[in-house]
Amino acid sequence: MSRLTQAGAVLPSRIVLWLFALLTVVPFGLLILTSFKSQADLMKGAFVLPPYPHFENYVNAWVDGHFSTYFTNSVLVVVPVVAISTVIGILTGFAFAFLSFPFKKGAFVILTIGMMVPSEAFIIPLYYEMLNLRLINTYWALILPQVAMSIPFATIFMASTMRQIPAELLEAAVIDGATRQHVLWGIIVPLLRPAASSLALFLFIWTWNEFLIPLILVNDDALRTLPIGMLFFQGKYTVNTPVLTAGAVIVILPIVVVYLAFQRKFIEGLTAGAAK
């Protein structure tokens, strides 16, 4: 191929690439831009820069919008969910990867069912169950169901990663007299670190973004998480778009920060696990 045709072949694809890059970025850009405008600035046009940045939008969102409360709640829920689910995922994954037990296939099917049934389907019975356990309107109402919902994916992900470990390693350890606990926590888990951190990141994002569970299982504004807070915020501030967008930025920012910090691990873990 001559250099000209090579360049010709490359240019359209570059354009496509940058077009999609633009499409991806523009909504975020507009969001951030609008969050610094005043309502009067809005009327002037979407892309017009405001004369000066209105940081008070963020203050309004944080204070009037109770975003400080919602943010804290999101953290208070996500951290236990991710921690507990990861540990249980490791334990249960270990069992599925290496152990035999009765009804193993059935147990696997039961887990898969949980992954496929949407939470809307069982939220009402769950509500009554929480009520009877006197857990409604508590952090446990948010943590326990989400741990339960994370278990299938965590188990399958950990199990398939564990199976990648060379059997000789495990055999050698057992021959050396290591207990199963030691094999699990001393050998397997360290090898699992990349996959486990990917799992944790996944669970972090899914739990941070969860919508229905906090909506139904918790009534108290003091316990709401960020996405729900955002919904109510919209109800109050439909017309004050700059403050609304500031609120949206507050909700999105932590995820973006975590993502950018760990994106390599995250994506690699995702693709490795997804292929299984």
Partner: protein, 442 residues
Amino acid sequence: MHHTILQRLRLKAVAGFAAGGLAAALSLGTPAIAQTLVTWDDYTDVGQNAVIEQLNKNFVAAHPGVTLNRTARTFDDLSLTLKLTVSAGDGPEVTKVNQGAGDQGTMAQQGLLLPIDDYIAQYGWDKRQSEGILARTRWSDKGQFGEGPAYGISGLGEIVGLYYNQKVLADAGIAAAPASFEELVQDVETLKGKGVTPFVIGTAKQHFALHLIAGIEQAHIDASNRQTLDDLVYGRGGSFKTDAGLAAATIVQKWATEGGFIDGYQGISGDDAVQLFVAGGGAFLVSGTWQFGAMQNNPDIHFMPVPPPAGVTKPLSVGGVDLSWSITSNAKDKATQDLGAQYIDYMVSPEAATIWAEAGFFPSTPLSDPSVVKSTVLSEGLAMWKTLGENNALGHYPDWASPTLLKTYDDNTPLLLAGSITPQAFVDAVDADYQAYLATKK
């Protein structure tokens, strides 16, 4: 093996948060003592929220030892969660409840709300609000709406009427607001000719189309003929297939399809429409008195009843009162119930009415001092309220007639406005829903 910093931090955080979460969990879910009152209300709008916070503060100051545990929920969300929580023995002791078969009727019949006739007598609430208004929270043991014990009382009144922008009209050559419905129709054509938006409306969210259609429909009904409407809404029977209903659907469809509405109305919400109207975006807007807080920001905006056609001297106006304050079955002992009643009494007191009026909102209890009203639209609204009371011309929200009617309206109004169904089909759909509901009551 070494932990990454993240893992170490996470472990520490987990321990800390788990302890915190446990403590939080243990401290929540306390049983209600007479000193704490759990309330839910729907005052999520910024202006309304400020008022209720003030009222709550006043109440707590006047009742030392009492704490109020308040949650604000939007109208849709309240409807969603209230029945579920109260029937499960959880949630508020005093709450706002939407009147009508869907929420208040169902809850009353399930014993989830407390009859308050004793308190009405004790506090003299019937002196502050007419029986015609109190009847809207009455449900008999047999499930008959409009009679039997009362289950709630409201603090704010509501009327649906016609907002008009005097300046926009004047600029288009219309000197005065329309005095009759025929004039309104004429004005719409005039405005269209001048390139001015006649109606500012948004149907993506809220229920502006319903209120417009119902407002026009009931303006065609004279107060002396109101029995039919009352029977409909109170579930005593009748049909929605009326001349007034058909006329309203027809004219609204005409306006929607022939440029009488603002461009792009299908994609904007009712709240957006209000903002556009306040900014001078059009001549007319039909909605309720709950918009006063926003409307008072533009002194050119006035409020009037939807003008009646010729031959109707005392037209009905859609309206009533806002969601009613009720005491739920969660208030188990007399002490809590009494405290709830005291709270409600304060909410419907003249003092509270004054605070609402000062903020530009529409109290249902008469004001002791009308001079506190600073906003034009509020004084116009209060004058209308007085007239409607004298003429017994306060209409109804038609969706109160059946628990599923609101959804039926929401599903069919976009089709009507887009011209996809005929006005007759629209009226038929509404009536079909109502007849189905009547059939289940037998």
